[in-house]
Amino acid sequence: MSANTILDFIDRIKITGLVMVDGKNIYEKGIRVDELRKQVGMVFQKPNPFPKSIYENVAFGLRVNGVKDKKVIDEKVEQSLVQAAIWDEVKDKLKKSAFELSGGQQQRLCIARALAIEPSMLLMDEPASALDPISTAKIEELIYELKKKYTIMIVTHNMQQAGRVSDYTAFFYMGELIEFDETKMMFTNPKNTRTQNYITGRFG
C-alpha cells in the first residue's frame, strides 16, 4: 500500500489492519459512507475547484447536506473562506468563476470548500506540490493555523515540508509503514535505519 492509498480508505479499497476514525472502525458493518465523508474533508494534489463561482464552490457541500437558509450559507461561506485565509482576496468577487483564481488561490478555495461542512479531519494529498514557492508557504502557514482546530493528515514527498508543518510523521516505504513518531524525533533521532537513510538522503 503506497502512502497515497492511505487516503483512499474512504473509498474502501482493501487494506490490512484497522482504520479508526473517532474511535470507530470504518470497515465495520453499518458504517454509513456518506456520514464518513462529512467527517473527513479531502484536498487533492491538483487544485480542483468546481466549474462554479467562488461562492458556489464553498456553498455546494452545505446545499448537498440540506442547508437551505441563505443567511446561514452566507455566514458559513465567509467563515470558511476566512479560515482558509483567502476571504480578503475574494470577498469582492464571490460571484466570479473559481477558475479566475491563481493556482494557490484555487487550492485555498478547495480547503475552504472542505472546511465548510465542518469535518473533524482533513486529508491532503500533496497539497502544495503543484504550487509556486510563495503559494506553498501560504498553504503551509494555513495548515499550521488549521491544525489548532482540525486533525490534518498530509501525504507529501517533501521531507522539509513534513518537518516544517507536522507534529507527527509516518514514513512509508514500498507500501509498508516503517516508522511513526513525533516529527522532531523522526528528524533528530529516528529509530529505524531505513528512516535515517531516507531523511539523510542516502537513498531516495
Partner: protein, 220 residues
C-alpha cells in the same frame, strides 16, 4: 509571524530567561561574599541545577530547529550563536557556583581590607555589567553595545594580572587571613573568566547580526 519566526522568538526568550538566571546567580555571589551570607551561597549552589536544565533545553531546541526548519542566512547564524552563547552562559553559571562554594568553605568572613585591596568587588561589578550589556545587546541586536564589552573585559584582565602580587603582599602582612586570601585569588581568576565568556558572547552577537567573525583577531 511564520512558524519558524515563532520558534526563533521562543528560543530568544528562553535564552534571555537563562541569561537573567545566570546574572542573578552572579549578583547573589557578590552579596554572599560581601555579607558573608552562607545561606545565600548555598542557594546559589542549589540553583545551579536550573541553569544546567536551561542549557539542556536550549541545546535541544536548537537541534530541533536545525532538523525541522533548515534555517539559512541570518536565521542560521542566530541559532548557531544561541547554541554557543548557551554554552558560555552555562559556564558563567558554573563560575558563580564555584565562587559560592568558597564562601561556604571558610569559617571567618572576608575582611573589608582584603576585599578592597584585591578589588574583587569591583571585578564582580564589572563582570555583572558585562553580562547585562551582553543581554541588552542580544535582545536589541545592538552590536555597538556588544563592542563595548571588549574594553570592559580589559579591566578584569588588568586586575587579574596583578592579583598574585597584590595577594602575596597582603598575606605577608596578614598571616591570619591566608586561606581567605587564597580563596579571593581563586575568585579573581574565575571572575576574569566571566569576562572571557562575556567577550565570546559579544563575538557571537556581532557574528549573527553582521556576519562578521571576530574570533582570534587582535582588533575588534
Amino acid at each position: 509571524m511564520s512558524h519558524l519566526e515563532n520558534e526563533l522568538q521562543k528560543l530568544k526568550s528562553d535564552a534571555l530567561r537563562m541569561w537573567k538566571t545566570v546574572q542573578t546567580q552572579l549578583e547573589k555571589g557578590k552579596d554572599a561574599l560581601t555579607n558573608f551570607d552562607k545561606d545565600m551561597a548555598r542557594e546559589i549552589a542549589a540553583k545551579e541545577k536550573r541553569v544546567n536544565a536551561y542549557e539542556l533545553k536550549i541545546d535541544r531546541d536548537c537541534e530541533n530547529i536545525f532538523a525541522l526548519f533548515n534555517p539559512v542566512a541570518v536565521d542560521l547564524r542566530f541559532v548557531l550563536a544561541v547554541l554557543k552563547i548557551n554554552s558560555n552562559l552555562e559556564r558563567i553559571g558554573d563560575i558563580a557556583d564555584g565562587i559560592a562554594r568558597y564562601v561556604i568553605d571558610v569559617d571567618t568572613r572576608f575582611s573589608d581590607e582584603l576585599l578592597k585591596t584585591t578589588q574583587v568587588i569591583e571585578m564582580f561589578e564589572t563582570a555583572n555589567s558585562i553580562i547585562q550589556d551582553a543581554a541588552t545587546a542580544f535582545e536589541n541586536e545592538d552590536t555597538k553595545l556588544a563592542r563595548t564589552i571588549f574594553k570592559k573585559d580589559e579591566k578584569l584582565d588588568d586586575i587579574n594580572v596583578n592579583a598574585s602580587y597584590v595577594i602575596a603582599d597582603f598575606i605577608k602582612n596578614h598571616s591570619d587571613q591566608v586561606r581567605e586570601s587564597l580563596h579571593i585569588l581563586s575568585m579573581i581568576r574565575k571572575l576574569e573568566r566571566v569576562g572571557d565568556q562575556g567577550k565570546n558572547i559579544a563575538e557571537e552577537i556581532i557574528f549573527y547580526i553582521e556576519a562578521k567573525v571576530l574570533k582570534h583577531r587582535l582588533e575588534k
